[in-house]
Amino acid sequence: MDKTQNNKAWFLVLPVLVLVAFSAVIPLMTVVNYSVNDTFGDNQFFWAGFEWFEEVLHSERMHAALWRQLLFSAIILAIEVPLGIAVALTMPKRGIWASTCLVLVALPLLIPFNVVGTIWQVFARIDIGLMGATLAALGIDFNIGQSSLDAWIIVVGMDVWHWTSLVVLLSYAGLQSIPEAYYQAGRIDQASRWAVFRYIELPKMKGVLLIAVLLRFMDSFMIYTEPFVVTGGGPGSATTFLSIDLVKMAIGQFDLGPAAAFSIMYFLVILLVSWVFYTVMTNLDKEEEFE
């Protein structure tokens, strides 16, 4: 059937375009403008060129925040992905317990970020927190307000608690999609449990695991609310990740120029990762079409 093409329909997109212009494009343009100007607010601007970019690129403070950020992302990925796979492997495949497990596992994902932060902040408190008070009673010195290591343990623990579920759900979905015939073939060949995992389950989970890694990297790279509520970036700047430092710079110190330059670089990294994510996803879809 020949469908008539009417490109006038594109005009129906105009309202969304106007809305996006006001909600995204113009704010982004103002950020670009801030990044090349010096301003003290009050609509007073002085041209600065690329000074802020050079300053931020060479700033020790930014380098430190970037390394902390990368370390944080690396640690939570190294914990959450294997742990998520392990939990998914032990979950029942069908029956009432499968649904029960799924609901229980999904619970942390439903909790708002700042509530997760508050839960763990209270959990770690020495006076009333379950973990903090217990450790104190056992004579173990655990204080997230004073020790950087303790603060890191809590922040990483919180992220693992909050987000391993995502990896579990994705891996579980990947596992469920493996046809029973593969396992039967494995049994005929007397494949060990490890061989079944290594040569049947892991290759079949490749796609969902890639999505899990990219999603968790993106989310952890942009993490703000949870560590902000739990440690406020402290002690000192031990848990000051990129976004926390950015907000400190922009709103705390009102250094709008450097903060804007920093935002643009942050945005570029996120854009790059998003593009990789999108490309990998579309290529995965294509591979599946060919299979």
Binding site: M29, T30, V32, N33, V36, N37, N43, Q44, F45, W47, G49, F50, E51, F53, E54, L57, H58, M265, L268, L271, L272, W275, T279, T282, N283, K286
Partner: protein
Amino acid sequence: MTSARWTTVYLTTGTAMLALLGALVAATPRDGDAIDWVSPMIAGGWMAWTFPIALFFWVILCLLIGFTLLAIRFPETPRLGVLRIETTRGDRLFISLLGSAFLALGWLFFFGAPLWGALALCLVYAAAVFRWV
């Protein structure tokens, strides 16, 4: 559409974009005879927009409009390049622009302003992306 009509479309769009650029230059404040490129175009106006920022977004706008027209006239066909991913013309523009941003940042880090060297590097990079990616 006939190629004659396409010529009209190109000419009209080109003229409109050049007129916009002319208007931007005309709006840039004068300091005696010389043009003061980095002063706000509207004195006391919101955000104090200056010519370099306007030029930057003008270039982006031109690229978007130009590639849209190209895509209408010569529909994009995906191809497999050195990155082993399928890319269309628009994808290659995106890769060029995003890569150029990182090249410019790298240049700022190692050599500092001005960015003319980085601009040349970006053009070479973009040409390479359009040829091989």
